[in-house]
């Protein structure tokens, strides 16, 4: 089971945090800080795995991947395979990239809800439900289409919706 997904930048600012077991906000912050402290102390050319038991309690592993200014961090238990999770991060980032066209840190900050939608398509209640990037994209596109449709009808006059639809 996946316990948490975090995205943070190289300065330790959280860009996304999703915990699949409920944790109070303070605890979440503490964990994020703990993770960042470990991450930033790691050398360049080492493995992507970290022994996370001291931060997240027994039976927890951590896999991270460093892209440009961002760390993508997945925390999970022994029912997942580390290398596979590394590729899951890859799928996630690839999907983000397809979705935002050349994703950058800023997209993740502003496309906050969209990033969550993507993540929800991949991981549901802590389990990996979808691993095909194109399937996820299909779902996301459908969602935004329907959202835009329902939005146009109920919320905003045509003229205003123009600038919002990409």
């Amino acid at each position: 089971m996946i316990k948490a997904v975090m995205v943070m930048n190289t300065q330790g600012k959280t860009r996304l945090a999703k915990f699949y077991e409920y944790l109070p906000v303070e605890k979440q912050q503490e964990l994020i800080r703990g993770v960042f402290a470990v991450l930033c102390s790691r050398a360049e050319n080492v493995s992507n795995f970290i022994d996370a038991e001291s931060i997240f309690g027994p039976d927890s592993r951590l896999v991270y991947k460093h892209f440009a200014t961002l760390y993508f961090v997945f925390v999970f238990d022994s029912s997942e395979n580390e290398l596979a999770v590394l590729d899951l991060i890859q799928v996630f980032v690839e999907t983000l990239d397809k979705c935002f066209q050349n994703v950058c840190e800023l997209d993740i900050v502003f496309g906050y809800s969209k990033v969550h939608t993507i993540l929800d398509e991949m991981i549901f209640g802590g389990q990996v439900v979808e691993t095909s990037s194109s399937e996820i994209m299909k779902a996301i596109e459908e969602i935004s289409k329907l959202e835009a449709a329902s939005n146009a009808i109920t919320l905003i006059p045509k003229s205003a919706s123009g600038w919002r639809s990409r």
Partner: protein, 966 residues
């Protein structure tokens, strides 16, 4: 140049209409990005919270605005600030009709609330309604909330709807309904136990996505109860076979592997099902073997599947052929330059050595390399492996290494773990007592506050009892060496409390035993300890008791006792201590000193901490007293069982300790307060180990059973009681140590066995290396060789002759791997660049040389771009293989190359080599070209935007920014 940047920004803003949040939000993000310190950030966020508080309470906010406020709240909470004032608004949003608003509301509540929050009650109704919605996206959003927000009590409210959704026409909904059901199962297995069969049914779903998702709950179900799912082995095997044969839609291919994530899940399940089951395992051999052959070991995901295969092979009933493939795969992992693969290799090795221990030896040097690697994760994994393969032959080297590492780290959690492992290994395999005590001293010195107090008690017992042999001189030698080392250690500045307690106890018992040190020397040391650590009551108590023992031994030996002045002042201080425990000890000390030699000897016999105390369970010494009382007209005692007429005594005891929590009402009398046993109570006869407690509310009697319990129960049964016993021991060294005799003597016997093993395994080991001699292939420095030899049980002769065949293969494979491992993302980036430079109609020029012709560039922003199409990595590996002049290297790499064109015939590939690689290279470049939609310009724009927004606060330009947005 400046102008160009501006244009870039403008373009970026224009094309990125995606940033549809308002300017306020942009400003917030920007100012947080520019914040120089955490305090500044907090100030900004608190300001934002005030604004939001004001805004959300305004009447008639347009929904679109409200949605944005909620998202800002989510953002604020992500930064660690309390946004609870807005929760109710998020809940309200879930009631909305608009899909967009509703989804945002659901997103916010799943992030904000937990299943026990007060507001949940307001959502359950909405969820119920939404689960029945016609719009499948609404249903999905509701299911998402169900996973996060429904607790045991509310499951029945939504369960029927969720079950209905299992047959929903949309596969996305079915998938999520399965997961929701799984979540219910996790939260409360009983509430959905009648629905478990649904998981089996969904395994046959038409949609591979749903099937793949169903594997998650099935994995969990199988791991809790293997036997009821044995019938599914055939189905799982056939699914795995179909997946491996690429029967699934192309969309599930990932880096040219057919649905690797599904393969991994299936292999995990098969590993569970085949464990210890020969018949089930036999069904799996073919398919697992196939996967071993088909796996593409040049991609990360291929290795993930390979690793899972190894795990599966090492879990199911062993099959020699598969074990061989697994060993091959492991050696490929370990030889790799990638730390990730080494890590997996070490882990896999740890699994496989359980079945075939001999494979560890051929990897000894790789293991040692990992041990010396700067990567902490890898190091720890390697220690885990070493821990698993410790034998009496290599225990010294391994434990030494562990201790060195333990001293070097600061992480308390891991320090504790590794300390307890050291202790465990030392206890199990110690070659000599001396060594054992040395190791323990080191562990206590560096991690004393982290190890379990029981470890210290075990060591005390060990020193007191010796090692079970009848050789008294050896025992006393051990003790005096312990005393020597402790007196030495006492000179160190800061010693952990547990270690001090141990030292005090040993000094008290054996400080003067061999006559080397005078009583005044030892007592002086002890009072120094009590003074130096004056805020540690436990240490002081140990010190006082030790003093008392020393004095008692002196008196018993007929020598005159002169209390040192510092001892005297210490005693005065303790006599008036606030701690009653210390006070009592001090008074006892005073009393003991006043007694004559004979009395002292019977209270405090020297070196008697492990004598048995004989307990008269029938309390026969009271017979006279009872007789008297009865004669005087007292009521005779009626046993408990007769009085209540139903409970037998052992039941009573059980209930007393464990049953209380399971019963609503407690009918038995409360446990009596524990009393310490006065040593002066004359020990009576009767030495049977059976023990029947007498639940009579008489304190003197009761105190016997409670102290004796541990001897009757097994060691593991009641640690709590045992600990209490240890507490008592401080005061009355003699008695309470005795009950544990049986356990500790068994430990020491084990050690004896271990020593005996040494000879046997030594000979067998040396014979095995002879065969491995030929496998050594690299020149290694002698120090490493020595280490390897001692770890794996051999002398340095092991690594003499590198066999020629392997010598060739090594550098070549090395080279190949290097080219593929070295910072893959960078490599891709450089390759990308090369491709971008080419005009798009050069598609056919995709020759393997492309990537090498361009110098690698290190543009960090390229890295992100690089993840667009990592498949190119494959091509580059194949290309590297062609460049390598070595035939062996080509041979090893062929599977990777040939894979691209579905040619699994390895033998033929040798001759076809150049062609294959051409194909491999060309396809991958093609793929890269065609999928390469976005271009450099795009990323440049982004880059500049990022910089300008202050996310990387190097060159912020707020004014310009305002203009753009304005």
């Amino acid at each position: 140049m400046e102008q160009l940047k501006t244009i870039g920004r403008e373009l970026a803003m224009g094309s990125q209409g995606g940033f549809y949040q308002s300017k306020e939000f942009l400003d917030l993000v920007k100012s947080i990005g520019e914040a120089r310190s955490k305090a500044e950030e907090d100030r900004i966020v608190l300001g934002e919270i005030e604004t939001l508080k004001r805004r959300v309470s305004e009447p008639d906010i347009p929904k679109r605005k409200m949605k944005e406020y909620i998202l800002r709240l989510v953002y604020v909470e992500m930064l660690g600030h309390d946004a609870s004032f807005g929760y109710i608004h998020a809940v309200k949003m879930t009631h909305d009709d608009s899909l967009l608003v509703k989804r945002t509301g659901y997103l916010a509540v799943t992030l904000f609330l937990n299943e026990d929050h007060d507001l949940i009650i307001l959502i359950v109704n909405t969820i119920q309604k939404d689960l029945k919605s016609d719009n499948y996206l609404v249903v999905c959003a509701a299911l998402n909330a169900v996973c996060k927000l429904i607790n045991e009590e509310t499951i029945p409210a939504v369960l029927p709807q969720v079950v209905d959704l299992l047959a929903h026409p949309k596969e996305a909904v079915r998938k999520k309904a399965i997961m929701a059901l799984h979540r219910f199962y996790q939260k409360s297995p009983s509430s959905v136990s009648h629905l478990v069969s649904n998981f089996r049914k969904r395994l046959c779903d038409n949609d591979p996505g749903v099937m793949g998702a169903t594997l998650c709950p099935l994995f969990e179900l199988v791991s809790t109860d293997v036997n009821s799912y044995k019938d599914l082995v055939i189905s799982f095997v056939s699914i795995l076979k179909q997946v491996a044969e690429r029967r699934l839609p192309k969309a599930y291919d990932y880096h040219q592997m057919p649905a690797p994530f599904i393969q991994i899940k299936l292999l995990k399940i098969l590993a569970l099902l085949g464990s210890g089951d020969k018949q089930a395992s036999e069904n799996m051999y073919t398919v697992v073997g196939d996967i071993f052959r088909k796996c593409d070991s040049s991609s990360n995901i291929g290795n993930a599947v390979l690793y899972e295969c190894i795990c599966c092979v090492s879990s199911i009933y062993p099959n020699p052929k598969l074990l061989e493939s697994a060993a091959d795969a492991i050696s490929r992992f370990l030889k790799s330059d990638s730390h990730n693969l080494k890590y997996m290799g070490i882990d896999a090795l740890g699994r496989l050595i359980k079945i075939s221990p001999e494979i560890a030896e051929q990897h000894q040097l790789a293991v040692i390399d990992c041990l010396e690697d700067p990567d902490d994760t890898l190091k720890r994994k390697t220690f885990e492996l070493l821990y698993k393969m410790t034998k009496s032959t290599n225990v010294e080297v391994i434990v030494d290494r562990m201790i060195d590492y333990m001293i070097s780290i600061n992480d308390n959690h891991y320090k504790t773990e590794i300390a307890s492992r050291c202790v465990e290994l030392a206890e199990q395999f110690a070659p000599s007592n001396q060594w054992f005590i040395q190791i323990m001293n080191k562990v206590f010195e560096h991690a004393g506050d982290l190890v379990n107090i029981k470890v210290a008690h075990n060591l005390m017992r060990l020193i007191a009892e010796g090692f079970g042999e009848d050789d008294d001189s050896a025992d006393s030698q051990l003790r005096s060496s312990a005393v020597d080392s402790y007196l030495h250690i006492l000179g160190e500045p800061k010693i952990p409390s547990v270690f001090l307690q141990l030292i005090c106890w040993v000094l008290g018992e054996y400080g003067t035993a061999d006559g080397k040190y005078s009583a005044s020397y030892i007592t002086g040391k002890l009072s120094d300890v009590a003074e130096a650590y004056s805020n540690d009551e436990t240490v002081k108590a140990y010190a006082v008791t030790a003093l008392m023992k020393i004095y008692a031994f002196e008196i018993a030996a007929g020598r005159k006792v002169d209390m040192l002045p510092e001892c005297q002042s210490l005693m005065e201080q303790f006599l008036a201590s606030h701690s009653t425990d210390l006070q009592q000890r001090a008074y006892e000390l005073q009393a003991v000193i006043g007694l004559d030699a004979h009395a002292v000897e019977s209270i405090m016999p020297s070196d008697a901490s492990c004598e048995d105390i004989e307990v008269d369970k029938a309390l026969s010494f009271l017979n006279g007293y009872i007789q008297d009382s009865i004669e005087k007209g007292a009521q005779p005692y009626i046993p408990e069982s007769e009085r209540s007429g139903m409970l037998n005594i052992s039941n009573f005891r059980n209930q007393d300790h464990h049953g209380a929590s399971s019963h609503g009402l407690k009918f038995e009398a409360y446990e009596l307060p524990k009393q310490t046993v006065q040593s002066r109570i004359p020990p009576a006869t009767l030495a049977s180990t059976e023990f029947v407690p007498v639940p009579e509310p008489m304190s003197v009697r009761e105190s016997y059973p409670t102290t004796i319990v541990p001897s009757a129960s097994s060691d593991a049964e009641s640690t709590e009681l045992k600990l209490r016993l240890d507490g008592v021991q401080k005061k009355w060294g003699r008695q309470t140590h005795s009950p544990a005799t049986s356990t500790s003597s068994s430990t020491s016997k084990k050690t004896v066995n271990g020593i005996k093993q040494v000879d046997g395994s030594n000979t067998s080991n040396s014979s095995t290396w002879e065969t491995y001699d030929s496998r050594k292939h690299v020149e290694i420095n002698s120090e490493k060789q020595k280490l390897a030899a001692s770890l794996f049980g051999g002398s340095s002769k092991t690594e003499k002759k590198p066999a020629t065949g392997h010598k060739i293969s090594k550098p070549s494979s090395h080279m190949v791997e290097k080219s593929h491992v070295r910072k893959s993302s960078m490599e891709i980036a450089s390759e990308k660049k090369a491709l971008v430079h080419q005009p798009p109609d050069l598609l056919d020029f995709g020759e393997p040389t492309v990537q090498s012709s361009d110098p690698p560039s290190v543009d960090p922003f390229k890295e992100l771009e690089g993840l667009l199409e990592p498949t190119t990595q494959l091509g580059s590996t194949a290309a590297a293989a062609t460049n390598s002049p070595d035939i062996m290297g080509l041979f090893t790499e062929t599977p990777g190359g040939t894979h691209n064109k579905d040619d699994s015939d390895i033998l033929s590939s040798l001759s076809k080599q150049p062609v294959t690689n051409m194909v491999g290279g060309a396809t991958s470049t093609q793929v890269a070209q065609s999928s390469k939609g976005p271009n450099r310009k795009d990323s440049l724009e982004k880059d500049s935007l990022v910089r300008q927004m202050g996310v990387t606060p190097s060159s912020p330009n707020p004014n310009l920014f305002k203009d753009l947005l304005g």
